[in-house]
């Protein structure tokens, strides 16, 4: 396109109006110079303004994304105390050996994995089902879509605080409902799996509707002919869903899986606020302490910022592994289709 601009651009370098129009007086020389100057400015503008337009993003990312990320690696090789965050003392790999020797690190890693699975899998499955229903002709379809998005508008803080009460052992609504159908009281705070389920349910609640909208958008983009020819081949609705809808959604599904996985690896606010002891331990037995919360506990409760940096960097490496696995899978999928 830039080339076309050049053609369309006002007078080119030699400066002049159309050849037919003869330079009548002395003014024209000056005018030609002026045009040449304008034209040079024009060239510069065409050439450099795209960089000017994209540079603010990259500068901000350098300052608040990339540089801190790299500096985290540097800080993870030092002893840094929260009370004096600018005093750094070389520590080599000691921060890493300390966290790898800490059983709570492994506990947090396991919890992050299990909470990640408990929160992501049902969330995406429900979102898929919901999107399928929303894709029918519905009365009041906008209403349902907005309602499904209401949890997304609710903050982690507000949602977690409400869910703590809903999941209360003695007076919570959920145990009360379970009691009515004859299920004994569940200790949603102190028992390992119930507490992980409760924390996950906050995440599921907040994100299911959002993911459903993303699936719905992708479903609406599937060409109708695919369904028509499948129907002609005698496929019933379920078969159409399996053989037309799901394959068409593959890139979208992969996208939501990646985004949810990244989100799940970072969970912090929900377990922090779900803790009855108001601490960062993720429950009395660390039963729902995630890596994000463990990082916070090491850095801001135990005041070892260097160690927290090591945890952050380990979390980053985990993400890179996830990214590689994901790209391998997506390449395989594309090769097979």
């Amino acid at each position: 396109m830039a080339t076309r601009h050049d053609i369309a651009a006002p007078p080119a370098k030699e400066g002049g109006a159309a050849p037919g129009r003869a330079p009548a007086d002395a003014l024209s020389a000056e005018a030609a110079k002026k045009r040449a100057r304008l034209s040079r400015r024009w060239q510069r503008d065409i050439r450099w303004s795209p960089y000017a337009f994209v540079s603010p993003f990259f500068l901000l990312f350098l300052a608040f994304g990339l540089f801190p990320l790299i500096y985290t690696a540097w800080a993870s090789l030092h002893t840094v105390e929260l009370t004096a965050p600018t005093d750094m003392e070389w520590a080599g790999l000691r921060n890493y050996t300390r966290i790898f020797d800490d059983e709570f690190f492994w506990n947090a890693a396991k919890n992050t994995l299990t909470i990640g699975i408990i929160s992501t899998v049902p969330q995406l499955l429900m979102a898929m089902g919901l999107a399928h229903i929303l894709n029918y002709k519905l009365r009041g379809s906008t209403f349902y879509r907005v309602v499904m998005l209401a949890p997304y508008a609710t903050s982690i803080a507000a949602a977690s605080l409400v869910f703590v009460l809903l999941f209360g052992r003695d007076y919570g609504v959920i145990n009360w409902v379970l009691d009515m159908v004859g299920i004994d009281k569940i200790d949603w705070q102190n028992d390992k799996w119930p507490s992980q389920f409760a924390v996950s349910s906050i995440i599921i609640w907040r994100w299911t509707g959002y993911n459903a909208l993303i699936y719905l958008a992708a479903m609406q983009a599937i060409p109708q002919d695919l369904y028509e020819s499948a129907a002609l081949d005698g496929a019933n609705r379920w078969q159409q869903f399996i053989h037309v809808t799901l394959p068409s959604l593959r890139p979208t599904i992969l996208f939501t899986v990646v985004v949810s996985t990244i989100g799940a690896s970072q969970v912090f606010g929900e377990p922090l606020l779900f803790d009855a002891n108001k601490g960062a331990s993720g429950g009395s037995q660390h039963q729902f302490q995630t890596l994000g919360l463990y990082l916070y506990e090491q850095g801001w409760v135990n005041q070892h910022l260097g160690r927290a940096s090591a945890i952050a960097w380990v979390m980053f490496l985990i993400l890179i592994v996830i990214g590689i696995v994901n790209s391998v899978i997506s390449r395989r999928l594309r090769a097979s289709s």
């Binding site: 993003f57 029918y136 209401a150 803080a157 609705r237």
Partner: protein
Amino acid sequence: MTTTLTPPTGTTATKTKPRRVRRSKAARAGGQLHAGPIAYVILALFTVGSLFPLVWTAIAASRDNQRLAQSPPPLWFGGNLFDKLEIAWKDANLGKAFLNTTIVAGTSALTIVFLSTIAGFAFAKLRFKGRNALMLIVVGTMMVPPQLSIIPLYMMVAKLDWSDQLQSVILPSLVSAFGVFFMRQYLLQALPDEIIEAARVDGASSWRVVWHVVFPAARPAMAVLGMLMFVQTWNDFLWPFLVLTQNGNPTVQVAVAGLGRGFTPDQSLIMAGALLGTLPLLLVFAIFGKQIVGGIMQGAVKG
């Protein structure tokens, strides 16, 4: 990474429309069929599931602490709602928190919208060396969660003595790869090349093109992006929680989270605070819900 993000189909907004015209009687799982009663039942369940925690927040806020420590739990409103809201407002420093959060979320949303629109325009409509590589980097940065950068940022804040100051929350929130991507996708289809050409022929500089052509064309997407970013910044928790304090200069989330951390927490007060912190956004969603839903879906398909 980009490979996974490539859209299922390119130009959806335009393609979906003619679909409605073509109807056949064959059974289809696609968009034309009317939903049966089961679908409505399931939708009703999801509606209750989505709204119940929010409604119950208001119910709990309208009761007192003793009532919340009784079985069965209250399922209808009591008479204390406005008293509790008033107390929570004062206790949690919510007046200041609202002002702060409006400043933070407003500044951040406006800046992101502006920067994303010009960057998105450059990526969508201008040709320059390294464009594809740079776009790839933008998409790649979406995969790096900002949480992993908090420790050096915290050191910076400590060094600059910026704790409890709003700029320490605003500055890191101005980066949005999603915004750039979103605006690029929108401008690709919403801004015809011919209009830009025409402006160029008239001698408009790039800035004039942005001002007089791009901004008017991008307005709907800018509004949606602004709302999404406002919601996101409004709800941001970890970073504000680290650098702001409840009694100093909190955002709403910091103030609300602080309510739950007393020794003998008054549960109904906590709920009142949570309700107050959520209401403004629920209001925004109630009014602009349709546009926000449209924006998310638009960003999704093409992303």
